[in-house]
């Protein structure tokens, strides 16, 4: 992996002056610059390229309406190449050299963490559109994806109350997002009175493909007479052999349902969905949800990308929401000045694609509805459950001992990491 990245970064570095020249020449007109910081090559390219296209689509649409404040929007696209340190470098380039007014970007938590000090130092503005593990709130970042209480906790609630699950397998890929999420879930389940012997936690490496003994373990664990479910934070490729093995060992969704947090329409496209039918996924958006706003967005996407087969997914919706919120904030503030836009954003609302409202909260997260969907054989989801109303995103989980007392509030407290018991603000403070 390292060596490939080296080659890539070498090429990118060689190409950088060229691109710079291009963007300089385009600078002549008075425009508002929008930075797009998504990997267009490397392992994450599969997922992130669609987000880049989504931002471009939104910019295109806004320009057709005449731009913002009478100025056209101009995208500045860079490629951090799935290389985490390069994310920081590219963010610095966007802010210091190109002077972009906002950045839409990042997918993995590690890339966000690497960009974080840069946007804080240079007072940038980043919209982050992917579900993540929480435990973070920066003044310069707006999190339009789900926090754990907007995805993992409601999914577990659904399984516990509606499906009657008594025994839990927390199966994940071995890195930060699954480990933090599972820690939160374990604490939550124990708080709900689930015995430690009824929880099994398991981690496998990235790209794991030999699932026989893991699945056999799940099967044994699930045959103890209590309803069992698997909460899966398995990431990427490893899902396919996992579901295949479940099918081969005759574990059906009716017996042991698997609810996944990172399997969406994009991942299911072009997959043999037979072994997955009936299994569950928890998201804040599904392409199959029948609302006028959603239909319009999908139609617009198909027109923009010139392909009717392309799917629309949750992080794309989060990107759309983030973009709309930023446009609103700039229009309301009457300027693209980062500090003013950041102060204007909390409290703003925009309709989401599923008929609800996304409101920016003082902790820089937004309100989101939670849906549970069952996989259909055409790779889409049937919604089987949803929350009554939107759930406000909680940056610091209430179920972890370290973060229980911590609050993020950029409106009154002006702090992203405020300890309610010691009354101290650690980290960024304004």
């Amino acid at each position: 992996m390292e060596r490939r990245n080296f080659i890539r970064s070498a090429i990118t570095m060689a190409a950088a002056p060229l691109l710079l020249g291009l963007s300089l020449s385009a600078q002549a007109a008075d425009t508002i610059k929008v930075g797009v910081l998504h990997s267009l090559s490397g392992t994450m390219a599969i997922s992130e390229t669609t987000l880049k296209d989504t931002v471009l689509m939104m910019i295109d649409e806004q320009n057709k309406k005449g731009g913002i404040l009478g100025k056209k929007l101009e995208p500045v696209v860079v490629d951090p190449a799935s290389n985490w340190p390069l994310f920081a470098e590219k963010a610095r380039e966007l802010l210091a050299k190109d002077h972009v007014d906002v950045i839409f970007g990042c997918w993995t938590s590690v890339s966000r963490k690497s960009v974080l000090p840069v946007v804080e130092e240079l007072n940038g503005l980043l919209f982050y559109p992917v579900q993540y593990e929480g435990e973070e709130s920066s003044r310069n970042v707006f999190y339009t994806g789900a926090a754990p209480n907007q995805q993992a906790i409601p999914a577990v609630d659904y399984l516990m109350k509606d499906v009657g699950v008594k025994r839990w397998v927390l199966e994940g890929t071995d890195y930060v997002y699954p480990r933090t999420t599972n820690k939160i879930l374990e604490a939550y389940l124990k708080a709900k009175g689930v015995a430690a012997s009824d929880i099994m936690i398991n981690y496998t490496p990235f790209g794991f493909s030999d699932w026989q003994s893991e699945v056999s373990k799940i099967k044994t664990f699930g045959s103890a007479g209590k309803k069992t479910a698997v909460v899966s934070t398995i990431n990427g490729d490893a899902n396919v052999p996992f579901y295949k093995e479940l099918g081969n060992q005759k574990i059906s969704a009716e017996d042991i349902p698997v609810v996944a947090f990172s399997v969406g329409e994009e991942e299911l496209a072009g997959l043999d969905t037979k072994p997955l039918v009936g299994h569950l996924a928890a998201w804040n958006y599904f392409e199959s949800i029948d609302t006028p706003a959603n239909k319009a967005a999908i139609a617009q996407w198909h027109k923009f990308i010139k392909n009717d087969k392309r799917t629309f997914n949750d992080p794309m919706e989060a990107t759309v929401i983030g973009f709309k919120l930023w446009v609103k904030a700039v229009e309301k503030a009457g300027t693209t000045d980062t500090t003013k836009v950041i102060d204007t954003l909390p409290g703003l609302e925009t309709p989401n694609l599923t008929g609800g409202v996304a409101k920016v909260l003082p902790n820089h997260h937004i309100t989101k509805p939670v849906y549970i969907g069952e996989v259909r054989d055409d790779g889409q989801f049937d919604v089987v459950w949803k929350t009554k109303s939107e759930v406000p995103g909680d940056a610091w989980s209430d179920f972890l001992p370290g973060s229980k007392d911590i609050e993020a509030d950029w409106v009154t407290l002006k702090c992203g990491n405020y300890n309610k018991t010691t009354k101290k603000c650690s980290g960024q403070n304004f």
């Binding site: 490939r4 080659i7 392992t43 390219a45 599969i46 109350k161 509606d162 071995d174 398991n202 981690y203 496998t204 490496p205 790209g207 794991f208 493909s209 030999d210 026989q212 003994s213 893991e214 056999s216 373990k217 044994t220 045959s223 103890a224 007479g225 490729d237 396919v240 052999p241 295949k244 093995e245 099918g247 081969n248 060992q249 005759k250 059906s252 969704a253 009716e254 349902p257 072009g270 997959l271 043999d272 039918v277 009936g278 199959s288 949800i289 029948d290 969907g373 069952e374 259909r376 054989d377 049937d382 919604v383 089987v384 459950w385 949803k386």
Partner: protein, 558 residues
């Protein structure tokens, strides 16, 4: 009110057209509540006609009503619904689709009478969907119908299905069937079910008899029933009041535990052997190019990837015949990867003999080129390779042990490939020349062997075998540009551990590494198991640098 409690309320009301559940099952609010309740409809055809527009809860009510009114005749329709073969066509008729017709059309049948209804374009049909809850209910209903089926296997499956969810109607159905049953296997299964039901009896003697009947039964449902019999009731006392029953139950549980442990061991061994087979398959091609020829081929993984993509292409070419396509892919992959191997040898490797470091770098560069080639031709996304019907599912030996077919086939396939390679190397003139060149090139040339030609053929053979391994891997893992990378390290590991140049060494080392990882995995987790195996290997190589089966004699000095 949550969606599913809504489902339940609707079910109780039993009224058609009140379905307000979320998602595509919605709609129908326009038809008012005056429509007759499902429980009042008795005509099967009318019930079926209501299916396409019903919500999931209504569908379940309709299915139950269908069984009540039509009995066994409802079976095919429900099975079609369960398997997703029930559609509504352009004329609002409910039809069963079975099999493909000509081109874009499919053959239709009437769900109740089974009469053929001609064919229709598949685009004009709307599928009648189901969800987990509905499928579970359908399985239960079908099991009750199947209890009277003429086929004993179906009856057995039905009894086992009933066992999993032993409620009062299921017990009643089993009791009713017990005396009419002629097949001894099915009768045994029914007896087990009735014995589990008897565990809740008031009479201690009945319970004792039931426990004795259940001793040695491996089904998890039986085990759980026995466990709950001897479990604490929360106040430190055990739920079973009778001492004799308790003793018998404890003994039965002990016996089942022992048997489960035994079968668990067999299962782990099988997992290990199947993982070992995958390792041997991916390494055996390398054992030839690296072991026999001494070429460090970093593009070996990409040759496997080419094989896997060949399987994908074959399936794309013959979408109607997945099994045939997959089987044909084996020789095709051998040819494709073998040809690529010969091209690599002629184009690159032959200029670099005797310079291992440069060979390593050149083939590594080549592996990047091949990956990018596949990305450009097929897209960077993983491709989906279907599993042929005969390879999915598992071979059920008993309730505690079942072996998945795909893994079983891969163990056999590996043995076949290994045997074929041994035959080629030991019994053919090509093999003789290969061995001669690898042992003493100069002498072989002096005897008239065209060593250049042999080099190319050997490299082609090793590469072809890698392609064949790729077809096997396409059934287990993702087919994508990175497929090769994830196996190359393991392949080198197996070859080095087994002893460079020894096919038997590769077989033994792959198998033992597989078994060791699978033995470790339950105790240490998958991540730690991998680390431990690597540490063990490093220590082993320190002690015996030439691997398990070092080459002896002249070849060892070469």
């Amino acid at each position: 009110m949550t969606a599913s409690s809504k489902f339940r309320t609707i079910l109780r009301a039993g009224a058609l057209g009140l379905a307000l559940c979320v998602g595509p099952a919605a709609a129908q609010d326009e038809s008012p509540a005056e429509a007759p309740a499902i429980s009042e409809i008795h005509d099967p055809a009318t019930l079926l006609a209501a299916l396409p527009d019903a919500g999931y809860a209504d569908k379940q009510a309709i299915a139950e009503q269908l069984v009540q009114s039509a009995g066994a005749q409802a079976g095919p329709a429900l099975r079609a619904l369960l398997e997703g073969r029930l559609y509504s066509d352009a004329n609002q008729r409910v039809v069963v689709v079975d099999g493909e017709g000509e081109g874009e059309t499919v053959a239709l049948r009437d769900p109740l009478s089974g009469a053929a209804l001609g064919s229709a374009a598949s685009a004009a049909l709307t599928k009648i969907g189901s969800n987990n809850k509905l499928r579970k209910a359908l399985k239960g209903l079908l099991a009750r119908l199947d209890l009277a089926d003429a086929d004993p296997d179906k009856r057995l499956a039905a009894v086992n299905e009933a066992l999993r969810n032993l409620d009062a109607p299921a017990i009643a159905a089993l009791r009713a069937r017990r005396d009419a049953e002629t097949d001894s296997k099915v009768r045994d299964a029914i007896d087990v079910g009735l014995a589990v039901a008897d565990l809740a009896s008031d009479s201690a003697d009945t319970r004792l008899a039931a426990v004795q009947r259940l001793s040695g039964e491996l089904s998890p449902d039986v085990y759980n029933a026995l466990q709950s019999l001897v479990a604490d009731d929360g106040s430190g006392k055990r739920r079973e009041p009778d001492e004799r029953v308790l003793m018998a139950a404890d003994a039965a549980i002990h016996r089942i535990d022992n048997q489960r442990a035994l079968y668990g061991g067999v299962e782990t061994l099988f997992f290990g052997l199947s993982l070992g087979s995958v390792l041997v398959l991916s390494a055996i091609g390398l054992a030839i190019t690296f072991g026999v020829m001494g070429v460090i081929n970093m593009a070996h993984g990409e040759l496997m990837m080419l094989g896997a993509y060949t399987a994908y292409v074959m399936q794309q070419l013959m979408p109607q015949h997945i099994t045939a396509a997959t089987l044909l892919a084996i020789p095709m992959a051998f040819i494709v990867a073998g040809a690529a191997g010969i091209a690599i040898e002629r184009g690159i490797v032959r200029f670099l003999y005797g310079r291992p470091l440069e060979t390593l770098l050149a083939t590594f560069g080549l592996s990047l080129v091949l990956q990018q080639l596949v990305r450009s031709v097929f897209s960077p996304l993983n491709r989906s390779v279907s599993t042929p019907e005969f390879m999915s599912g598992s071979l059920v030996i008993n309730d505690a042990l079942s072996l998945t077919w795909n893994r079983l086939y891969i163990v056999f396939f590996m043995l076949l490939v290994f045997l074929a390679l041994q035959l080629v190397l030991k019994r053919t003139s090509l093999g003789l020349k290969v061995r001669a060149v690898s042992q003493n090139r100069a002498m072989a040339r002096a005897m008239g062997v065209r060593s250049e030609w042999i080099d190319a053929a050997t490299f082609g053979l090793g590469s072809g075998v890698a392609g064949v391994a790729g077809v096997a891997l396409s059934q287990l893992t993702n087919v994508g540009p990175n497929l090769g990378q994830s196996y190359i390290i393991d392949s080198f590991m197996v070859v080095v551990f087994g002893g460079v140049g020894s096919l038997w060494g590769t077989l033994i080392s792959g198998m033992s590494l597989g078994v060791v990882s699978k033995l470790l995995e339950p105790h240490t987790g998958a991540v730690m198991a991998k680390i431990l195996v690597l540490v063990f290997l490093i220590l082993f190589i320190q002690r015996r640098p030439r691997g398990l089966f070092p080459q002896k004699g002249r070849a060892a000095e070469g």
